[in-house]
């Protein structure tokens, strides 16, 4: 604290808004002789240009170092007057504003005397506080112009390309062998009926080729440290037993490999070799040996020959990345309906999920696009869809709507009709959520193809063991009575679940989860892609279920947020931060527990603030049992000074 602050006080008339009730000249007079007050004036509109100039002139002429503006709400003009101080060479935090308009003249219009007395009290409080104000450091930290994107589905890919185009270095980390996510598994997309891999494939290749993007696949995030602009991330690349730099993706090893095992990417409907890529368009097209199935017969090593890309001794590799920001785009997992015994999934062979359907109908899939029943390889004639499987269901704790499945079922129903025009197709649902652009028209057109829409929840499914057919029991809400419909093939439209590794990743990244288990955004309305941790953003289904179009939009939004954050090369850190007195601190860790921004770390048994993360709330200061924490600009002394003089004239 400066020993002898020189305070300038400016009491605003605001036309008649304040002066019509409060005697502003009296208020100025009241404080003119207070200790430290060099100048106390009243003026018609202090916020106007001449008003601001008057303050600047007084700062020069009287060497003022504290300014008290008595006027409207600081929520209106605090930044205006802070700029005045800055332009006069003073630290902007040496300003104090007193609200005698919104909280005085406007609310005590019939009691001008009492309003004036109140104004005098408020100005006194501000003057005593201003004597204790200290200049605050306006700190900027450098930010790295690089981004880590966790998850290589359509959201991660979209954000990666946008940011790379802007000139940022992008690390795209994907836990699976290939990027592409679930979109790569789909056959067609709604409502345009574009072939999914046809629109995604080129983007995947673009990502692989882009000089600014580095794909790190078959890898996990181990640890994240640091703060916005300066994150240190440890990544572990899991062994493929193939050396990436040497593998040319020629596939000769795959041809000679004798072992086949169920391909998870084909939802275990198809097989892959012990050395293989999960699907032909995989990016990167680096082969991988599944060591659990491999016989180590060395046929692949022979086929690989001079390239010598296979290495059975490969170990997990840990790398450390330094990035300025992180985008989490880890997507979703299709809900696995084993729990819903009434539908018979896992027991009845001809009950499949919508994602299994995608692989069956896909021309590059395990049946080369032939829609056949798993039980007898026959072509089905009657196909049913049950909606909301794993969504809107209190019993399993998934109360949310998965948003894409109505349209997905309608799309799949149309595809069936296109392939098998004579087939009977039924969709059992409670309501079609066809809300998006072109959705309603798509739904109408699909009904014109002859798809039957039955309004009602399917209560149970029974199998005829001889035929493998299924009978669906549903309460038909339009007819108002229960019906039974026999189908050859039943497709469960399963919803989106948070991916299994989301929980551990949420802890690694310190992002809380919402009640449905998806990642929590900072504000559902105005900050849908931010998290509470500065520098970490969300995109895509991991934030909440959504379709491809909305995922891409959100990914672009996340990329925009990152670009805005990193473009200037540095960011301003909050000045009103907590400071821990190391002598008084006993290292109890309470502040660390309660800080919502993880801004307190314990080092050498003492607590310290990470300035870049501190949000400036001050909760730690009032929590510390030793009163070791000072909240800058809202110190105990400053606040108590106001309390003491509030009514004491």
């Amino acid at each position: 604290m400066i020993d002898k602050p020189r305070i300038g006080v400016y009491v605003c008339h605001c036309g008649k808004n304040i002066a019509g009730v409060v005697n502003v000249e009296d208020v100025a007079e009241h404080v003119r002789n207070m200790a430290g007050v060099i100048v106390a004036k009243d003026y018609r509109y202090v916020c106007s240009d001449p008003g601001q100039d008057m303050i600047k002139k007084d700062i020069r002429d009287y060497q003022l170092d504290r300014i008290v503006v008595v006027a409207c709400s600081p929520r209106l003009h605090e930044p205006t007057f802070r700029r005045v101080l800055e332009e006069s060479g003073l630290n902007p935090y040496l300003l104090e504003m007193v609200n005698i308009r919104e909280q005085c003249s406007w609310v005590h219009m019939d009691e001008p005397d009492k309003a004036t007395e109140k104004a005098k009290d408020l100005v006194r409080m501000a003057i005593l506080r201003s004597q204790l104000l200290e200049p605050l450091e306006i700190k900027e930290v450098k930010v790295l112009k690089s981004v880590l994107i966790v998850g290589g589905g359509v959201s991660g890919i979209s954000a990666a390309l946008d940011l790379a185009e802007m000139g940022f270095k992008v690390y795209l980390v994907e836990k699976n062998e290939s990027i592409g996510g679930h979109m790569a598994q789909l056959d067609k997309t709604f409502p345009s009926m574009d072939c999914s891999i046809c629109i995604l494939g080129p983007k995947m290749v673009e990502v692989a080729r882009h000089p600014k993007i580095k794909i790190i696949s078959h890898a996990d995030i181990v640890r994240v440290e640091g703060y916005v602009g300066n994150f240190k991330v440890k990544i572990r690349e899991n062994p493929r037993y193939v050396i990436s730099d040497r593998c040319t993706g020629c596939g000769e090893c795959q041809e000679v490999c004798p072992i086949e095992y169920p391909n998870e990417w084909d939802i275990n409907l198809g097989v892959r070799k012990a050395i293989s890529v999960p699907f032909p368009q995989a990016v990167p097209s680096v082969y991988r040996i599944n060591i659990d199935y491999c016989l180590q017969c060395y046929k692949c090593v022979e086929a690989c020959g001079a390239r010598e890309a296979i290495d059975f001794g490969q170990k997990p590799k840990e790398t450390e990345l330094n990035v300025g920001a992180i985008i989490v785009a880890i997507g979703f997992e299709p809900y696995e309906p084993y729990q819903l015994k009434e539908y018979g999934y896992g027991t009845y062979q001809n009950v499949i999920t919508n994602i299994e359907f995608e692989r069956l109908i896909n021309a590059a899939g395990p049946t080369e696009g032939k829609l056949i029943r798993v039980s007898d390889m026959k072509v089905p004639h009657r196909i049913g869809f049950i909606q909301c499987v794993g969504s809107r269901d209190e019993r399993i704790g998934h109360i949310y709507c998965s948003r894409f499945c109505c349209m997905s079922a309608i799309k799949q129903a149309r595809q069936i009709k296109e392939k098998l025009p004579e087939a009977e197709v039924y969709i059992f649902h409670t309501e079609p959520r066809t809300f998006g652009k072109g959705f309603e028209a798509f739904f109408r057109k699909t009904r014109e193809y002859g798809v039957s829409v039955v309004r009602g929840r399917a209560s149970k499914v029974l199998e005829d063991p001889e035929t493998g057919n299924l009978t669906v029991f549903v309460e038909d809400l339009s007819l108002g009575k229960p019906v039974e419909v026999e189908v050859d093939l039943l497709i469960l439209s399963v919803g989106m679940s948070p991916p299994k590794d989301l929980e551990s990743l949420s802890r690694t990244l310190r992002i809380p989860r919402d009640p449905d288990g998806f990642l929590l955004e900072a504000h559902p309305k105005l900050r849908p892609v931010d998290t509470h941790t500065a520098g970490i953003f969300l995109a895509g289904a991991c934030q909440s279920p959504k379709d491809i179009t909305d995922s891409i939009s959100q990914a672009k939004a996340a990329a925009a947020s990152v670009a805005a954050l990193l473009s200037r090369g540095k960011i301003r850190v909050e000045s009103m931060i907590a400071h821990v007195n190391q002598d008084l601190c006993i290292g109890c860790g309470l502040c660390q527990e309660i800080c919502p921004y993880q801004a307190m770390t314990i080092q050498n048994k003492k607590s310290k603030t990470i300035p870049a993360l501190c949000g400036g709330c001050g909760t730690c200061a009032s929590t510390c049992p030793e009163h070791a924490i000072t909240m800058k600009h809202y110190t105990n002394k400053q606040i108590l000074a106001e309390v003491v003089t509030a009514f004491q004239r």
């Binding site: 036309g15 008649k16 808004n17 018609r44 509109y45 916020c47 106007s48 930044p79 946008d162 185009e165 802007m166 000139g167 409502p191 345009s192 574009d194 969504s391 109360i399 949310y400 709507c401 948003r403 309501e431 959520r433 809300f435 998006g436 652009k437 072109g438 309603e440 028209a441 109408r444 809400l477 339009s478 108002g480 919402d514 009640p515 449905d516 998806f518 559902p524 309305k525 105005l526 849908p528 892609v529 934030q543 909440s544 491809i548 179009t549 909305d550 891409i552 939009s553 959100q554 672009k556 939004a557 996340a558 990329a559 925009a560 947020s561 670009a563 805005a564 954050l565 473009s567 200037r568």
Partner: protein, 451 residues
């Protein structure tokens, strides 16, 4: 030309290409402007009304969190006003756009407020003394404003505007203004700016419920639209937040919400879903119950589209916690009882097949979203195309949602199609991203050409 002059011209050209025009100052335009300004670009934000804020500023609370709308919007509005990279041009419209090499030359008309923007401090004394009262558009015509006015107290910029049509030129405002900011002779101004990219975020217009004649909007006092309802429950609205009937100011005890008014309806000419009305009706039903705990509330719907984050839970809350009754049925007609001004709603309950006639004190029509009134003018000025539904559309709306048929011009928000606030904000940032990439590529191309 000397090389120094050439260099200067080149730098000016570069600076010009690093600027963006954003059309529309609703929550979407505001987000685009802030994102681009934060990235370091110069943004011209053009808004036709005297204040930014759009429709979101008119709302009371937002679904599904029941956040106070103004509370979350006004800080962003203030950020726009203060941002050194944003030039805010309110009460302005775009007159013409022409291509100048790879940039756009935009002519903007700043309409006359008859108030000097540099002198007005927003103190409001003028409005206190103005003798003329007219229906306030911001309050859906339910409340009043003066002929010299700001549309709402948190308007940005907080500068008064004189509505010349209703002004009687009494001169009282001029006499009372201590900042000498009134100028009855102010002329409109034309400004020309050169920008590298344009984002169109001009929002939507509500379906005019008068077009659904069988529902009686405009004839029956107690049939109101969803937005009328918002202004009634808003604490800063014309009734101070009291949900009261417009006919006799009594508190309604039986309220009906009718869904899909102007949407999914061949007769209204719009077969598409408006995407937000299910949720806003559920929200309003809950607000009505909060205001009037013993009210009996019915929602007559076709389907309940509660698809977004937290939506299904919100729908369940309305049913279980607030006892809102949801009836699946098509409302054929609304008839007024002249003595009480109550309303009879005729509906076919599609689940039971019954034909019902129910009496209500108040009926709220959940009107859909239609393209904004000036969309044709914008189409002509910019040359961007619309989709079948009349909203601006990308040639490939699924993958390239914010693009248009013209390189360098992007669309976002409800101008692209009906959507709620979170989706508008996300799309706004997406458009900002594309606009910024376009600008970066522009400068790179120039550098490449030079080499």
């Amino acid at each position: 030309m000397s090389s120094i002059e050439e260099e200067q011209e080149e730098q000016e050209k570069q600076e010009k290409q690093q600027s963006v025009l954003v059309l529309g100052g609703g929550v979407c335009g505001i987000q685009v402007a802030l994102d681009l300004a934060d990235m370091g670009f110069k943004v011209y934000l053009v808004e036709k009304k005297p204040s930014i804020g759009g429709h979101m500023a008119q709302l009371d609370k937002t679904f599904p969190t029941l956040d106070c709308s103004a509370c979350i919007l006004t800080p962003k509005m203030v950020d726009v006003a203060r941002h050194p990279n944003i030039e805010l041009l309110t009460y302005s419209e775009v007159l013409a756009v022409s291509r100048a090499s790879k940039s756009f030359e935009v002519t903007i008309l700043k309409k006359s407020r008859y108030v000097n923007e540099d002198k007005c401090t927003g103190c409001g004394i003028c409005a206190q003394y103005c003798p003329i009262e007219v229906p306030n558009e911001f309050d859906q015509g339910i409340g009043i404003r003066k002929a010299i006015y700001v549309p709402f107290p948190q308007a940005i910029p907080l500068i008064y505007t004189i509505d010349k049509e209703n002004c009687i030129k009494c001169g009282l405002c001029e006499r009372m203004c201590e900042a000498e900011a009134i100028d009855h002779n102010q002329q409109p101004m034309k400004i020309t700016v050169t920008v590298g990219s344009i984002v169109v975020a001009v929002g939507f217009q509500l379906f005019d419920a008068k077009n659904k004649q069988e529902y009686g909007y405009g004839r029956y006092d107690n049939v109101i639209t969803g937005l009328d309802f918002e202004r009634l429950v808003n604490a800063a609205g014309p009734t101070g937040g009291h949900l009261a009937r417009l006919s006799d100011a009594k508190i309604p005890k039986k309220i009906a919400f009718i869904q899909c008014v102007g949407s999914r309806d061949e007769k209204s000419g719009n077969l598409n879903c408006s995407r937000v009305c299910c949720m806003y009706a559920i929200k309003q039903a809950i607000l009505a119950k909060e205001h009037i705990p013993d009210a009996d509330i019915h929602v007559f719907y076709m389907d309940i589209r509660a698809y977004g984050k937290g939506f299904e839970e919100f729908y369940t809350r309305a049913k279980e916690e607030f006892n809102v009754k949801f009836v699946r049925g098509a409302v054929s007609e609304i008839v007024e009882i002249p003595e009480t001004k109550n309303l009879i709603v005729r509906v076919e309950d599609t689940e039971t097949g019954e034909l019902l006639e129910k009496e209500f004190d108040m009926v709220v029509l959940s009107v859909g979203l239609t393209p904004p009134s000036d969309s044709e003018a914008i189409e002509n000025i910019l040359g961007i195309s619309k989709g079948e539904d009349g909203f601006f559309s990308s040639p490939d709306p699924q993958i390239f949602t914010v693009d248009t048929n013209i390189g360098g011009i992007f669309i976002a928000g409800t101008a692209e199609g009906p959507k709620d606030i979170p989706d508008s904000v996300a799309q706004a940032s997406a458009a900002a991203m594309k606009a910024s990439v376009a600008l970066v590529q522009l400068t790179q191309e120039e550098k490449h050409v030079e080499k």
